[in-house]
Symmetry: C2
Subunit: 129 residues, 2 copies
DNA sequence: GCTTTTCTACTACACATGTAGTACGACGAT
DNA sequence: ATCGTCGTACTACATGTGTAGTAGAAAAGC
């Protein structure tokens, strides 16, 4: 496996990673362009964050001419696992069921969705709508 | 209601809050003592964190003699709501069902638990809005 | 070739957090 | 009264993060 312990990322970092997860290896400019729309980020900002992620070993960089291309070294699943576990540990006493109960109670999901999710997964359904 | 915006807390801050949620108003020493066991925190550290939480309006302090007593101003539910929403927003595209699917896939909960949770909630069922 | 645009590398800076140490005043013990 | 103790207020300092500006090299445009 390639589990590097605890991959907790900030919202912004996740946003950058999402671009990499979606488009695969991308240049700083690519990422910056994608995010320019939703967030008004200057592209030096994107470059900085990317550099830091590289330093942390979350992404790998490859140089091509004067440009840098980045590639995610951790999958979205890794981050989800890690962060969800942290949250459940800190706020739900490590009991994931309590989290589900919370979601239903807070109307984040309808009770019927639980059955739906279950059926979908039972059918070997992985992810990807 | 008393919904104050985003109440995102760090793991440590949550640990302190848990003490307040559990014991109600407590002195710095009380909180420090409770946490001394699990974490080796000096009690000035606890005092500092508590002060910062107060500054942020997450807890209220009351002075009694030279001692300070703290009381949580946000409930555990508020923090859960806020933080779960953040997580779902950042990592699951705002789709709570995806989070549930993740939990099941990662074996954080058994498929059968979904039904259990649902039944349990259906019974004592209360539902906001 | 000379100018303009692009990129990356550095530097900067404010704010949050984890983690204390220290100073000082109030308290309790003797 | 005195002295050690407790508790708070302040200060400190490293690290991570959000957000960029600037300098300097390289590539593209004319």
């Amino acid at each position: 496996m390639n589990k590097q312990r605890d991959v907790s990322l900030s919202e912004l970092q996740i946003a950058l990673m999402r671009v990499l997860w979606r488009r695969g290896e991308s240049s700083t400019a690519d990422v910056a362009t994608e995010l320019a729309g939703e967030r008004g980020l200057k592209h030096t900002t994107v470059a900085t964050v990317l550099t830091r992620l590289e330093k942390r070993g979350v992404v790998a960089q490859r140089r091509e001419g004067r440009q840098l291309f980045y590639r995610a070294l951790v999958g979205e699943g890794d981050v989800r696992r890690s962060m969800v576990a942290d949250l459940v540990g800190a706020l739900f006493d490590g009991d994931a069921r309590a989290l589900v109960a919370h979601l239903v109670q807070e109307s984040e999901i309808a009770p019927g969705d639980l059955a739906k999710v279950r059926r979908r997964l039972a059918r070997g359904g992985q992810n990807g709508e």
